[in-house]
């Protein structure tokens, strides 16, 4: 993408497109990767509400996969996940391993 020149800028540097940050992928920041273990999931959605990066996808009220484009790998979801019978439904794994 060609860098913008001064004539291309919106007046007052106003950002004209709401929610445009979705074009900025933060997944590359991740050092650890959350892994969802579906069979241990009780669909409490705590991982969804507590994720600072809106990186847990929920469809029709049910969580599906992580959105690794944005997940920064903080591990909050894994820590907060109650899982089933003491078995976590999210575990963290080192990226690239």
């Amino acid at each position: 993408m060609k860098a913008k020149g001064w004539r291309d800028l919106p007046p007052g540097s106003v950002v004209l497109e709401g929610g445009s940050a979705v074009k900025f992928k933060t997944g590359s920041w991740r050092a650890f990767r959350p892994i969802w273990i579906e069979e241990n999931c009780i669909q409490c959605l705590f991982c969804w509400i507590y994720c600072p990066d809106m990186a847990v996808e929920v469809k029709d009220g049910k969580r599906t996969e992580f959105d690794y484009d944005y997940c920064k790998g903080c591990g909050i979801c894994a820590l907060e996940c109650p899982g089933r019978k003491g078995q976590k439904a999210i575990v963290m794994a080192e990226e690239g391993k």
């Binding site: 950002v15 497109e17 709401g18 929610g19 445009s20 940050a21 979705v22 074009k23 900025f24 992928k25 933060t26 920041w29 991740r30 409490c44 959605l45 705590f46 969804w48 509400i49 507590y50 994720c51 600072p52 990066d53 809106m54 990186a55 929920v58 029709d60 009220g61 959105d67 484009d69 944005y70 920064k72 790998g73 903080c74 591990g75 909050i76 894994a78 820590l79 907060e80 963290m92």
Partner: protein, 312 residues
């Protein structure tokens, strides 16, 4: 009809605060913001003080805000929003804005932008009675500039401007109780909340939107960089803050105080402090007295609050 505050129903809503923001991994502030933004159906206009949230959520042409949003400076999120809200009222009065559409206004400021430099602007806007909610996300220091002390920094904390040295063990003053100060403005609604108690937080936001006039909600927002804790513990630490009564959850509605969440068992404040590097020095023997002072402060404030509160 307001969306019922269940995670299942809330999860069906479009994000008003989107991913792609650049807060640090595991930061508490975006959790506060996302819950606040989803807790209402009304159209919302947001004003934001300079600080971590602002610099990380709107950079060049990338904005994480899917609602109208304005940042002007550090000390004036309240004054700026009071202008937006006044224009809204003026246009509505003159028939130049859809009379059936009700818009709500939220200001977000960090503790520095709220307790300190933005305090006058906040106090003024609240006194003038603008219809808005001011939400302070309190991470206890000027994080954006590198963890400097604010008047919200807890007693004993090690920051870059009140470092724990060989002579002075960190911050020697207790926090300013801003929530109480805002209550002294006699505004219709003041509350304290925590992202760990998402439902309590969401209810407070929802309730505040239904009350006309100025509202203030102070929300603890762990910062793993400044607190020197782990990236995964924002929720755990904010829960500990509640359960130690370091950060009691309460509201003051029209002068009536109500504790909204009472910990099953009040645990020692040390439990909240231990996982945080900023308090590490307090656990060495020579600082025992200071650690005790922290506990005493918490106990005193909690007792005071219980006395003031109507229990239901």
């Amino acid at each position: 009809m307001a969306t019922p505050l269940t995670l299942k129903e809330l999860s069906k809503k479009e994000d008003r605060f989107t991913h792609g923001h650049r807060m640090c991994s595991g930061c508490g502030a975006p959790i506060v913001v996302k819950i606040a933004m989803m807790a209402t159906e009304y159209p919302v206009v947001v004003s934001n003080a300079t600080g971590c949230l602002e610099v990380s959520s709107c950079i060049s042409e990338f904005t994480a805000w899917n609602v109208p949003w304005i940042h002007t400076a550090f000390e004036n999120a309240a004054a700026t929003l009071s202008g937006v809200e006044t224009m809204y009222r003026s246009l509505k009065k003159q028939g130049r804005f859809d009379k059936d559409k009700e818009v709500k206004f939220i200001a977000f400021g960090g503790d520095g932008g709220t307790y300190d430099i933005g305090f006058q602007s906040l106090s003024g806007a609240m006194e003038r009675g603008h219809d808005m909610i001011y939400i302070c996300y309190d991470n206890g220091a000027y994080m954006n500039t590198g963890i400097q002390r604010s008047s919200a920094t807890p007693l004993g904390a090690d920051t870059t401007t009140c470092p724990a040295g060989s002579v002075i063990p960190g911050k020697l003053r207790a926090r300013k109780n801003l929530t109480k100060i805002m209550a002294a403005h006699d505004i219709p609604y003041v509350a304290q909340a925590s992202p760990s108690h998402w439902l309590d937080l969401a209810k407070k936001i929802q309730k505040a939107h239904e009350i006309k006039g100025p509202k203030f909600i102070n929300v603890i927002a762990p910062c793993n960089r400044g607190w020197r804790s782990k990236t995964n513990d924002a929720i755990q630490l904010s829960r500990l803050a509640v359960n130690t009564c370091y950060w009691p959850l309460y509201e003051i509605e029209n002068g009536v105080t109500r504790i909204t969440v009472t910990p099953k068992e009040k645990i020692s404040v040390a439990e909240f402090m231990k996982p945080q590097g900023r308090f590490k020095h307090l656990f060495s023997p020579e600082n025992e007295g200071l650690l005790q002072r922290v506990q005493d402060e918490v106990d005193r404030e909690w007792a005071k609050l219980q006395k003031e509160a109507k229990t239901d």
